[in-house]
């Protein structure tokens, strides 16, 4: 029974949130939710669609044509050229898009002449839900560690070693969650070169591409960078790679729309015509009211994104200042993008399991001994601060924690104050 799902776990992010919800006065830097509400202009468009009576029915499986046409326009502004009729699917957020793509790509039946392609390479640390999505699709996650002392960049030699005849795809989260790293164009092109002739897909998850901070490109805004051509690079911009690149984007983070469950996927028609079959069987179509909201977002909310980006940059600097006050406890790489920081725990005395509160034992602990897990649980227990243990993001994430600065300045200050108290008061002893 449950052969496929028994080894699939609820992600550690969700587990921490679940635990945090049971504790009064908790401050959570765990889940990657923006502190902002969805911009007014987007909400108005949704209300207008609701009042027009156009949201109660399914849309086409691919999504509303007018939304896909808007997506095509938006992509063209970023030098990505895809046909809205056949190459773009509106999805229920990015994780549905990734899962649908993986189900379409991963092979399940082995023949005598050919081994199945069921391995998916992902970088460690990277987004915690990828391994589970791969398992849901019947695949096998294969981790390639990022190099921490080189700013969490890709070790291309190590990656090349992990590519085999069984490799079906590589997932690249760029900017990377949880490290905030932006992978350089040269490295991305080298990855493409490695897989180019082997029909291995590259799934590009670029949900944080709008949050790249000024020290990366002076004081330029996203819009100015786009105009100057110095903007963020995506492999989907290279037409010759469109048959192997599947790009995923979500409006959740950029437009503060996590609850709307809306995103999109695009690739060559040959790939999209297969992925849409899975999308149809999973969700039929993305929520129609959210599709109308997405149209307004893409058309009219550029200024709001820029405001969010500036705010997140201030918050990144704030959380980094707090971490700078604790050099004997944490070391960290300053994130270039996204809204996460991934500090390494330098000084921490392990808590013996019997000292952990009973209710915390209800959650499923990792099978291996994990400092980051014990620290996160103990911090939540004693300081009422929720963070995500680094192990959740892959083996090389162990010994780190992920903190979100998508939360308000007040939450960041309070959480960091409690963390300082936690260490100075020897709560953990």
């Amino acid at each position: 029974m449950f052969v496929r799902t028994k080894n699939i776990k609820l992600s550690a992010i969700k587990q921490m949130e679940l635990l945090a919800s049971k504790i009064p006065d908790v401050v959570s830097l765990a889940q990657g939710i923006p502190s902002f509400d969805t911009p007014e202009i987007i909400k108005k468009a949704a209300v207008k669609a609701l009042n027009r009576g156009v949201v109660a029915k399914y849309s086409l499986t691919y999504g509303l044509p007018e939304l896909r046409e808007t997506i095509e326009q938006k992509l063209a502004e970023e030098n990505m050229y895809y046909d809205f009729e056949k190459e773009i699917i509106a999805t229920a957020g990015s994780i549905e898009a990734i899962t649908a793509a993986l189900i379409a790509i991963i092979e399940s039946y082995e023949t005598k002449s050919r081994k199945i392609k069921n391995e998916v390479i992902l970088f460690s640390p990277s987004y915690a839900s990828y391994p589970e999505a791969i398992k849901v699709a019947g695949g096998q996650p294969v981790f390639v560690n990022l190099t921490e002392d080189k700013g969490w960049q890709i070790d291309l030699k190590n990656l090349a070693k992990k590519i085999t005849n069984r490799t079906a795809a590589i997932i690249i989260c760029n900017p990377n969650n949880p490290t905030g790293t932006i992978f350089p164009k040269e490295d991305l092109l080298k990855i493409a070169e490695l897989v180019w002739k082997r029909k291995i897909f590259i799934i590009c998850d670029e949900v944080y591409k709008d949050f790249i901070y000024a020290d990366e490109r002076g004081s330029e805004t996203n819009l100015e960078a786009d105009q100057r051509g110095s903007a963020f690079f995506s492999l989907a911009q290279i037409p010759q790679l469109r048959k192997i690149v599947i790009r995923v984007f979500s409006l959740s983070k950029a437009y503060a729309m996590t609850g709307w469950r809306i995103g999109f996927l695009h690739s060559d028609e040959e790939n999209v015509s297969e992925i849409v079959k899975v999308h149809d069987s999973l969700v039929t179509c993305a929520p129609v009211i959210s599709q109308y909201a997405a149209m307004a977002a893409l058309d009219f909310a550029d200024k709001e994104i820029e405001e969010f980006r500036q705010k997140y940059q201030e918050r990144r600097d704030l959380i980094c200042q707090h971490l700078d006050d604790l050099p004997e406890l944490f070391s960290y790489q300053k994130p270039q993008g996204s809204y996460f920081v991934f500090p390494k725990i330098i000084q921490y005395k392990e808590v013996r399991p019997h000292k952990i509160n009973r209710q915390f034992r209800e959650v499923e602990p990792p099978k291996i001994k994990s400092t980051s897990w014990n620290f996160a649980i103990d911090l939540l227990n004693k300081a009422q601060v929720a963070v995500v243990p680094g192990l959740a993001f892959g083996p090389s994430g162990e010994g780190h924690i992920r903190m979100s600065f998508g939360r308000s300045e007040k939450d960041i200050n309070e959480a960091m104050k409690r963390i300082k108290n936690y260490f100075t008061n020897d709560y953990y002893l």
Partner: protein
């Protein structure tokens, strides 16, 4: 915006736009239909720019009751401006709209006609019956490009034929020397040509189209295609082109671009001298 407030704004914007058009007298190209307007607008702009005509197009999707006059007046509703140190942003803010009306009045009454008269390329979109009549009360096209008639935004219409009747009004509104550029792959659009007494140039994959596309091939970085032009004298000229975009809507846009280049061959000053008679 409350309904009354919206109606007041709409009323003033309409009249400021009319005053502007009366004073500046640009050549109006309207792009209508339910799909593909954006791409055709872009290529029409490119074609006219290649000929060195001064040209202005709708901003984003400003194509209906409020957006259209804003486009004519070259104003945007979403851009933040500072007025008395208060940042004004987005729809629904009273002061923001007062400011827009003030800007609109200035544009209407103070704009000086450019040395070379401009082409104004406007998308028109409707989502209810009589929508076109209202938009035509603001601006009448001299050239009309009609794409397709589909069920998008059609919830307020009985059927597609009712939408076609709306677009028929646009063809009727053309002046005696006006031009209708029609997509012959859409049966309803094609039928509109039969009842038109204006000059029509057709385009599409259809063999009956004046500008016919053939042999579309997808290549790794775009599409290759052949455009064949029916010369009325039963001779056909053809040319091969390559697009760096994917999808039939770009093929249609490429056809319209060729039609525009063909139709406005003369120089900008000569063209406007001809219009003035």
């Amino acid at each position: 915006m409350t309904t009354i407030f919206k109606q007041i704004i709409q009323f003033f914007l309409k009249w400021f736009a009319k005053v502007y058009l009366w004073r500046i007298k640009p050549h109006i190209i309207v792009i209508a239909g339910t799909t593909g307007r954006h791409w055709i607008k872009e290529t029409v702009r490119d074609a006219l720019k290649e000929k060195n005509f001064p040209v202005r197009v709708n901003k984003k999707n400003f194509n209906a009751e409020i957006g259209l006059p804003l486009s004519i007046l070259d104003l945007a509703s979403g851009e933040p401006r500072k007025l008395n140190s208060v940042e004004l942003r987005g729809e629904g803010r009273f002061w923001r709209w007062l400011d827009i009306l003030w800007q609109a009045a200035k544009r209407a009454f103070r704009s000086k006609p450019p040395v070379l008269k401009e082409f104004l390329v406007l998308e028109m979109a409707i989502d209810r019956p009589e929508g076109i009549s209202y938009l035509l009360s603001i601006v009448k096209p001299q050239t009309l490009i009609l794409t397709t008639i589909t069920m998008i935004y059609a919830e307020n219409f009985e059927n597609l034929d009712e939408i076609a009747l709306e677009y028929k009004k646009l063809i009727k509104a053309l002046p005696w020397n006006g031009l209708a550029i029609l997509n012959f792959d859409d049966e309803r659009v094609k039928n509109l040509a039969e009842s038109s007494d204006k000059r029509v140039i057709s385009y599409g994959f259809s063999k009956e189209a004046d500008f016919q596309v053939k042999n579309v091939r997808k290549v790794s970085d775009g599409q290759k295609l052949e455009i064949s032009v029916n010369q009325r004298s039963n001779q056909r000229q053809s040319a091969s082109i390559k697009l760096n975009r994917f999808g039939n809507h770009h093929v249609y846009a490429a056809l319209v671009k060729e039609i525009i280049k063909e139709s406005f061959k003369i120089s900008a000053p000569d063209f406007f001298r001809q219009i003035r008679g």
